[in-house]
């Protein structure tokens, strides 16, 4: 009915003022094209004439892909999405990968770090970052009545009253934004943070409450959905938190809290890189900023509109939330992220369970060696590879297995001799020899033992297990036996890498059992997969 009125009004104006043909054409497409998709749930088929436009986007946008594609296909454009974290997006573009545009959650880091400046930029939508906390916990901390400051949150975390999940700031925008916000707020600065300003003691108290880490905001929410008892709260996009709430029983639902001294919001700019695609870019932006899309699918996904004519969805809080600013110098960002990894975060114990059975011989073993060496500081020193490298205070345990399980070899990384330990890891990698059968679950059982010891010795560590195997279990403990002995979960999260002829379904079941996720090493280089996994360790 509204559309009808709109047309009448426009026709009226036309009489009075002369609206040219082009306006009508635009109007037609607004009414019949871009606006229509919001009513339909299924994916619009790609018209044969559709032009293709590639986008490298923040990984939490995967859920929104069908809605975005429906909208743009209706105007004859097929968007082809790939996903990565913010730092990776920038590095892949700087390394020469070609995409027509990127869609990171926050435009600040790319603006500072991209070597070739984007040709055009348009913010598509917004999402605030919030602390989603269980209602009972919020009440017990008194935060249901008045929003806490970051210092209050740090104090609760430091005294063990708040356990939360947050993504790794070096892989994901929510972690990065939250780290800058909390560091600024604790330093009593709303602007222009430098590393000297950071109140390390309070920041470490805050970080001591981090019980769950992840390389992406989407997976962080998934991990919580699978086991809501694991933490009291999550730091994440309000959009992701509210979507998670739809799937949670009310006792586990998260109340959104915006710390009183402020946060940093995501502003989702679409940044055009390909000068040949300016026209398509304009059409995509027009379509995605039009009110039907902004009021429809975006509002349904709890994202805030960038088009002021599409009012914010009533499901989103409208109270004033102070915004803190993103640092304006790459050196500052680098110094803070570097210090986070090496000095401030909870130290990690990273256990790698590595298949050296006969089938790994040749390029597979070479790939594994290379991946380990990259983490041990070999290769190009990009920002992300520096953050992905084994860090000061970290303990790395390598367990190699074939039909026999090797004794765990541990490496303790300390500031004083970091280079010699890196060297030792590289030597260990060179010494790997592939031969024999595959006793996956015997090896994992050994890794579990190490994990238990580590947690007992130092409960303040984040302990995780990575499993790399290219084949089927044919020796020792069976998967069923392993499952039976871990009915109540594993000591540490297990992250299996799909590789070679490994059993995909079994690896997925294992990840499910152990609260981890699988990574695919079949298509990309193992070194890149290891780097991605580092966000979860």
């Amino acid at each position: 009915m509204n559309r009808f009125k709109l047309v009448l009004r426009l026709l009226h104006r036309l009489k009075a003022k002369l609206l040219p043909l082009l306006a009508l054409a635009t109007l037609c497409s607004a009414i019949f094209g871009c606006g229509k998709q919001s009513d339909e749930a299924s994916l619009v088929a790609i018209p044969s004439s559709a032009e293709s436009f590639s986008v490298l986007a923040g990984s939490e946008l995967k859920e929104l892909e069908p809605a975005i594609q429906n909208a743009t296909r209706a105007v004859g454009i097929n968007l082809v999405f790939s996903y990565a974290g913010t730092l990776d997006i920038v590095e892949r573009i700087n390394a020469g990968e070609s995409f027509d545009a990127i869609l990171p959650p926050n435009g600040a880091y790319p603006a500072l770090a991209l070597q070739t400046k984007p040709i055009a930029r348009e913010k598509l939508f917004y999402s605030r970052i919030a602390l989603g906390i269980k209602r009972t916990k919020a009440a017990s901390l008194g935060w249901d009545k008045a929003a806490p400051t970051w210092a209050d949150i740090a104090a609760a975390a430091g005294s063990g009253r708040l356990r939360y999940g947050m993504t790794n700031p070096t892989s994901s925008n929510t972690g990065m934004s939250a780290l800058f916000a909390v560091a600024s707020a604790l330093a009593g600065k709303s602007e222009d943070l430098s590393v000297q300003d950071v109140d390390v003691q309070k920041l470490k108290a805050f970080l001591s409450g981090q019980q769950l880490t992840a390389g992406s905001s989407g997976w962080l929410a998934e991990a919580f959905l699978r086991d809501p008892s694991s933490v009291d709260a999550l730091i994440n996009y309000e959009a992701v938190l509210l979507r998670a709430n739809e799937k949670l029983p009310s006792s586990d639902q998260l109340t959104l809290i915006y710390p009183r001294d402020g946060m940093i919001s995501a502003d989702y700019p679409l940044l055009l890189l390909n000068p040949q695609k300016q026209e398509l870019f304009k059409r995509i932006v027009a379509c995605l900023k039009a009110t039907p899309f902004q009021r429809g699918p975006l509002a349904a996904a709890y994202l805030r509109p960038s088009n002021p004519e599409a009012a914010t969805a009533p499901t989103l809080p409208t109270a004033v939330v102070a915004e803190l600013s993103f640092p304006n110098r790459l050196e500052v960002i680098d110094a803070i992220l570097g210090a986070f990894q090496a000095q401030w975060r909870k130290p990690a114990t990273s256990i790698f369970v590595l298949d050296v059975s006969g089938s790994m011989r040749g390029p597979r073993l070479d790939g594994m060696r290379e991946a380990l060496k990259v983490l041990a500081g070999a290769g190009v020193a990009t920002a992300s590879s520096r953050y992905a490298a084994f860090q000061t205070r970290e303990r790395v345990v390598l367990i190699q297995f074939s039909n026999k399980v090797g004794a765990p070899v541990s490496f303790q990384f300390e500031e004083s001799d970091i280079q010699s330990v890196q060297e030792a890891v590289r030597k260990q990698a060179d010494g790997l020899i592939a031969d024999g059968g595959t006793a996956i679950y015997s090896a994992l059982t050994a890794a579990e033992l190490v994990a238990k010891e580590e947690i007992q010795r130092d409960p303040g560590r984040l302990v995780s297990i990575v499993l790399l195997t290219d084949g089927l279990n044919n020796e020792g403990v069976t998967f069923d036996q392993f499952k039976d002995s871990h009915r109540s979960g594993t000591a540490a999260r297990i992250f299996p890498i799909l590789f070679g002829e490994g059993n995909v379904a079994e690896m997925q079941a294992l990840a499910q059992l152990a609260g981890g996720r699988v990574f695919d090493g079949r298509k990309s280089r193992l070194a890149l997969v290891f780097k991605e996994i580092r966000g979860y360790q």
């Binding site: 009915m1 559309r3 009808f4 047309v7 009448l8 026709l11 036309l14 009489k15 003022k17 002369l18 609206l19 040219p20 043909l21 082009l22 306006a23 009508l24 635009t26 109007l27 037609c28 009414i31 019949f32 435009g107 600040a108 603006a111 500072l112 040709i119 055009a120 930029r121 913010k123 917004y126 605030r128 707020a185 009593g188 600065k189 709303s190 602007e191 222009d192 943070l193 009183r260 001294d261 402020g262 919001s265 502003d267 700019p269 300016q278 805030r304 509109p305 960038s306 002021p308 004519e309 004033v320 939330v321 102070a322 915004e323 803190l324 600013s325 993103f326 640092p327 304006n328 110098r329």
Partner: protein, 372 residues
Amino acid sequence: MRKIIAPLIAVALLGAIISGVWYSHSQLQLERATDALALSERQKQATLKGLIGSEKEAFFADVRVQKVLAGLGLTVTVEKAGSRAIAKRFDPEKYDFGFPSGAPAAFQLQAQAKASNVYRPFYTPIVFASWRPIAEILVANKIATKEGDFYYVVDLPALLALVEKGVRWKELPSSEAFPTNKAVLVNSTDVRTSNSAAMYLALASYVANQQQIVQSAEEATRAISKVAPLFLKQGFQEQSSAGPFEDYLALGMGKAPLLVVYESQLVEFWLKNPERLKGEMVLMYPKPTVFSKHVLVPFTSSGARLGDALENNPALRELAHEYGFRTGGDLKGPETWAKRGVHVPEILVDVIDPPSYEWLEQMIIGIEAKFK
């Protein structure tokens, strides 16, 4: 219901298209008849491409503007860029004109283009986009006065003194409406790329220079150390004026209590969204303020034709008013806006000139060095 409406709309649209064609055709004939001299000029069809400041993009995208221009034989496509970047991307092979948002950037562009004539079709004062609760805090602190329903005047030297002292909003008396730890600060775009920030620099340097326009290298050097923190303290800044204004609209007071914008941006928004006049958005005119003059620098003869049309064509001037720009001509913007409920001062008394290109550029380079 939709099944019935769709064909109806289709018929209605078809009718509209036919009448539109007829109307525009007859209109065109009328124009031709009244202006026979320009006929030959008009028939010369030209397709132009230009680099423009982001806040003029909507104007050029308006089909009514394109229509008037087409009537004059001009088909214009634009790319947007920060005003200082426009000057750096001068390329007469690729573009017919540059249309930055400020005289200093245009001056440099004019020198590069060796253009003998430039056009100044629009101008707009620098203002702060703000919020009623913020404005009232400043009124209570005797820094601002309320002058109209949606606008205030703020004493710029007094405001910048607060910024210099590092006062936080919650420390100000009567700040209950915005009790945050945020420092009192005016947000702007990146002074290295964007004209609105350069105009803010012009104002701030005037205040820093004992209320005198900076007119020498010594004065510029002295001003840099005083004004640089206004930009450095902001943290990350965007390159172009449209982005922060979108943040202002989307994220509200918490993001941008005071944001440097062009008056045109808010006026345009209110004209398009009159219901938002009831909201909390307000304009603050700094005292003194400065005009941002949108200067079209032609690189080709077609570019010059466009500049001439924008400056002198009454229909284009009227359309420019809809985008919040002030123009020359008999009918100024504020009168037309007032008829639609958007009341802004018709005349601004306390307006300074920006420093000349040389000194402004020296200050920008000086601030740029401090970013490193």
